[in-house]
Symmetry: C2
Subunit: 183 residues, 2 copies
DNA sequence: GTCTATACGAGGATAGAC
DNA sequence: GTCTATCCTCGTATAGAC
């Protein structure tokens, strides 16, 4: 730790991630160019390619942790019977991950729900969450209405800050809807 | 009407729209390049720019009618009191437009719900539907839970064919959820 | 090990000849 | 009404300086 503070050598990878997360969240993934990120850091585009193989890999590196946690929820759901109690528990765990994720990564995911559909790795996995959770939560012979209910509740369980109100208020509203909607 | 059938002169604009709608729906708006469309028609990219000023304008021309109809629903909702009956009626009208739209335009919209968020004109207006409908449907002093319910039902009201089951089955499932969820 | 210079082919868009 | 030629930006790739 001899070279501290202002100079900042060797942490380029982290600095790329910081800038990328901020831009991806505020301007959107598609609308953010590698040139922007590079210029913001005072390096060239090519420098980014030393640290990451593609633009998508930058995204993936940001989403790695949350992706793992969501995958764990899917696996947990699959590992037991599909009862109503466990479906509700599953949704609680999902809400927890969303709340607990640090650094606004989950906000970035929501902001880009659009763009991530077309990607192929971790980003796609995160976006695909709802479909996977829905499948894991319902038995194969579930009715159309049950499936539709599950889908609706997975969307409803997104009490974004643009709804207004305190975070706790939004959380309890989401919970009431879960109770109403889960098959 | 002297020059009919195979030759097809002067209807290039319509032919562009036909090809574009098909590609936008199956491959996605972002993933469809103007070069593809042009090659499919046996013309060059630049030729498209005689008929449309931008790629987005091609999209907008396809969405014009549906955009108008959705706008009418918003206006109707705003024009009267916000009772539960009228909220449910609003959702029925929305479902009708979705079903009644010809030529798979609405399917294109759903397929691209992703990409349309970032656009600025008719496409954005169509995508923005849910937010606008939600605002029109609820009084200004609505609670957080009411807002969240409205949002959930607008998403739930999308009984896409990938749910399985007959169209009528999906429709009645959607209606049951509406009854359950509308504040 | 970290970066710059440079280039490629794709994208959307434009000017102007025919 | 359609073309060629051109421009800029994009993500990506590689060669080579330090």
């Amino acid at each position: 730790m001899a070279e501290t503070a202002t100079r900042r050598r060797g942490d380029t990878r982290e600095r790329i991630q910081d800038v990328a997360l901020e831009r991806f969240t505020t301007s959107g993934y598609d609308q953010t160019s590698l040139r922007e990120i590079a210029e913001d850091l005072g390096v060239t585009k090519a420098a980014l390619y030393y640290h990451f193989r593609t633009k998508e890999e930058i995204l993936d590196s940001l989403l790695e942790q949350v992706s793992t946690e969501l995958d764990a929820i899917v696996e947990w759901m699959k590992s037991g019977p599909s009862t109503r109690e466990r479906r509700i528990e599953m949704l609680h765990r999902l809400a927890e991950v969303t709340r607990g994720t640090p650094g606004g990564v989950m906000k970035c995911v929501q902001q880009n729900e659009a763009a991530f559909q077309n990607l192929s790795t971790a980003a796609a996995m995160v976006h695909d969450l709802k479909r996977k959770l829905g499948e894991a939560a319902l038995p194969g012979d579930a009715t159309v209405e049950q499936r539709l209910r599950m889908r609706a509740v997975l969307f409803a369980n997104k009490p974004d800050s643009d709804l207004g109100g305190a975070a706790s208020e939004r959380a309890s509203a989401a919970e009431a809807i879960v109770e109403d909607l889960v098959p």
